[in-house]
């Protein structure tokens, strides 16, 4: 009987079974940032422990970084304290840090892949729930809390319970204007925000196989929004092409040996899954969230749900009240205040290209504040090199520096009052974008761009220029090197 990638990686990284019955798993790569580590480093100091594998630990700053003025010290002294703490901890414990002055700085889930740190068959941990992003490479990547960060710093290991595997096959051709973001929002809507608890999601099928690494990262990134702590795609030639030549990827003969090992880590054809579902790509339309969790979404042409017919009437009516929407209201045409393209979900070069394709020659509606925030310094440089920044600025967008920005309220980029924000990020929770009454609608970067121009939630399919090629799956040539 064959094995899944998850089982293979799990078995290879198992140190032993702990007296608690949990598995002690070796962690191949530990990524750290300023938010979830200061208390962990203090715990190490208190107990006199070192970082076990500083050679397998890398840091950057992302959540609190201002995207407009990065001068030190930051105006926000709390943020300044956090970045200073990470700099001191990295120095004291010998951990490499891609700090504010580094051209490798960026959102932790953008730079890991970009630098070739993220590789197939690895176990990866990071104190951030969107660590599932790295699964796009066929890694098994866990989002963890600060006490587990302490464990991984001190021992390069974690204590874990085994996961079941649900295979989600996406087959068929995505229609124009429908993207990886729509696929994952649809999956979460169908399976529920708690549907993946206890599971790793294996994304498979010909639609996923045709996707670029950027698109696969968008899918894996939001696994946790469906309750699955881990999501992955089996590594293939697309994965290897992306990795070749990156700073931390193996070189020459070592790369050839790596490819053979990586290929062997993919799930076997006769692997057995705990659950198996299929989604037809051609049935999908652009998806928009209307509520206060990423599972509360509808197609752009649909009306907001509600009334006694909905499954959980209380949570639907609670969400409608917060969002100031009423049952049956069309989502298309809803007036917006803010448009945000960025985040670890959709802040990569191909995302910026798709948004630029929509806004080129158009202008942001006068009442809309619109932000483009590249996921990393490298994404920013690559976008500038092909003139995307000029397209955005000419269209009335603000072009910002790399960071988490408006995905969460930890830096100066925040909603005010009950503003409505169309966002390419991953969470529409109450208060997520920094205002306790702010309203977030999640969608693809192209849909955000379309809404920014229209000033209302709009159907990007009606704004896309005719294209000789399919819009999705640009292939690895479309990605930052």
């Amino acid at each position: 009987m064959g094995k899944t990638l998850l089982q293979k990686v799990w078995d290879l990284h198992t140190v032993r079974t702990l007296p608690t019955g949990q598995t002690q798993l070796f962690i191949g790569l530990h990524l750290i940032h300023e938010v979830t580590t200061p208390q962990a480093f203090d715990a190490l100091r208190a107990r006199g422990w070192k970082v076990a594998r500083p050679d397998r630990t890398f840091g950057t700053v992302d959540h609190i970084v201002p995207t407009r003025d990065r001068k030190r010290p930051f105006l926000d002294m709390l943020a300044e304290d956090m970045i200073a703490a990470l700099e001191r901890n990295a120095k004291d414990f010998g951990v490499p840090l891609f700090g504010l002055d580094s051209d490798r700085q960026g959102i932790v889930h953008v730079i890991g892949p970009e630098l070739g740190l993220t590789q197939p068959g690895m176990t990866i941990a990071c104190g951030d729930s969107h660590t599932s992003t790295h699964g796009a490479f066929g890694a098994v990547a866990f989002g963890i809390g600060t006490s587990q960060v302490r464990d991984v710093l001190a021992s390069q290991c974690m204590a874990l319970e085994p996961l079941k595997v649900r295979r989600i096959r996406v087959n068929g051709q995505l229609p124009p204007g429908v993207y990886a973001k729509d696929v994952i929002l649809e999956i979460i809507q169908r399976l529920g925000v708690g549907g993946g608890v206890g599971y790793a999601y294996e994304y498979a099928g010909d639609t996923i196989e045709r996707m670029s690494m950027d698109e696969r990262m968008t899918i894996c990134n939001m696994s946790i929004e469906g309750g699955a702590r881990v999501g992955y795609v089996n590594p293939d030639e697309t994965t290897f092409r992306y990795l070749e030549g990156r700073p931390y990827a193996p070189k020459g003969d070592a790369f050839e040996r790596a490819k053979a090992w990586w290929r062997a880590m993919a799930s076997d054809a006769d692997a057995v899954y705990d659950d198996d579902i299929e989604i037809r790509a051609e049935d999908l339309t652009p998806v928009v969230t209307w509520g206060v969790n990423p599972g509360q979404s509808i197609g752009i042409k649909e009306g907001v749900p509600g009334g006694a017919t909905s499954g959980d009437a209380q949570s639907v009516s609670d969400a409608l009240e917060y969002m100031q929407l009423h049952a049956g209201q069309p989502i298309e045409g809803l007036k917006i205040d803010v448009a945000f393209v960025g985040s670890c979900t959709n802040g990569r070069l191909s995302d910026l290209r798709e948004a630029a394709r929509v806004v080129k020659g158009r202008h942001v509606a006068p009442h809309v504040k619109a932000l483009i925030v590249p996921g990393s310094v490298a994404v920013s440089k690559a976008a500038v090199a092909e003139g995307l920044d000029k397209i955005f600025v000419a269209a009335g967008f603000e072009w910002r520096g790399a960071g988490c920005s408006m995905c969460l309220g930890m830096n100066p980029d925040r909603l005010e009052g009950d503003q409505v924000c169309v966002s390419s990020s991953n969470r529409n929770f109450k208060g997520r974008q920094g205002s306790p009454t702010g309203r977030t609608l999640l969608m693809s970067p192209a849909m955000v761009a379309a809404a920014a121009v229209a000033g209302t939630v709009t159907d990007v399919r009606e704004m896309l220029p005719p294209s000789p090629t399919a819009p999705a799956s640009q292939g690895s040539v479309a990605e930052v090197h």
Partner: protein, 208 residues
């Protein structure tokens, strides 16, 4: 460091109703700008509390009878979303020592375990009955017995109500033995860790 052994939690209880309550609601991101967890009890549910006040109501965390409660009672998929340990840290610092719920997000559950905050699950009916009991009498004594796998609510003017609660065996054992504090365990027999690393070709950069 000797970790605490936890086999039962007793005290008054506090309900927070609602499904899919995410960690951004338990502890909004803007309060994560800190290098310690000190004072986090002040931020717990802060936006929900403000919203309730604005609507002319009081969130349970602001209602006087629930102050000093040590058992939190919640519905399903509690703690979904962000992996921030700041959320269970805030609840623990507020005084919560056990959580009874229909279900929990995986990361929240693990984070709570790591800081010695047991979460147990019970059926929807039992959770509803417990919430109703403590809403009727916030002074009711609630006992979560990890060893027996039961939760008992004892209202002052009625008969005690006992129902089964569950947690995985290894979690129960970890709390019973103090092994929930895992770092020490992971550092034992470190030669086994090195042996595992040595069989992973990427650790040596695929040099052979």
């Amino acid at each position: 460091m000797e970790a605490l052994r936890i086999t039962r939690v007793e005290g008054r209880a506090i309900p927070v109703r609602g499904v899919d309550i995410d960690t951004d609601r338990i502890l909004p991101a803007r309060f994560l700008r800190a290098v310690t967890f000190e004072g986090f009890e002040e931020h717990v549910f802060i936006d929900d509390r403000a919203a309730a006040k604005k609507a002319g109501a009081l969130h349970s965390f602001d209602q006087p009878p629930y102050q000093g409660a040590s058992v939190l009672v919640v519905n399903s998929n509690f703690g979904c979303g962000s992996s921030r340990e700041h959320a269970p840290q805030g609840l623990h610092r507020w005084g919560i020592r056990a959580i009874v719920g229909e279900s929990f997000s995986e990361i929240f559950y693990g984070n709570s375990m790591m800081i010695g905050l047991p979460c147990v699950t019970a059926s929807h009916e039992h959770v509803e009955a417990l919430m109703a009991a403590i809403e009727r009498d916030p002074q009711a004594q609630v006992t979560v017995d990890l060893a027996k796998g039961t939760c008992t609510a004892a209202p002052r003017d009625g008969t005690p109500y006992t129902f089964p609660v569950s947690m995985p065996d290894h979690v129960r054992d970890a709390f019973a033995t103090g092994a929930w504090d895992t770092t020490g365990l992971l550092l034992e027999n470190y030669e086994q860790v090195n042996a595992t690393a040595a069989r992973l070709p990427y650790v040596s950069g695929f040099t052979s």
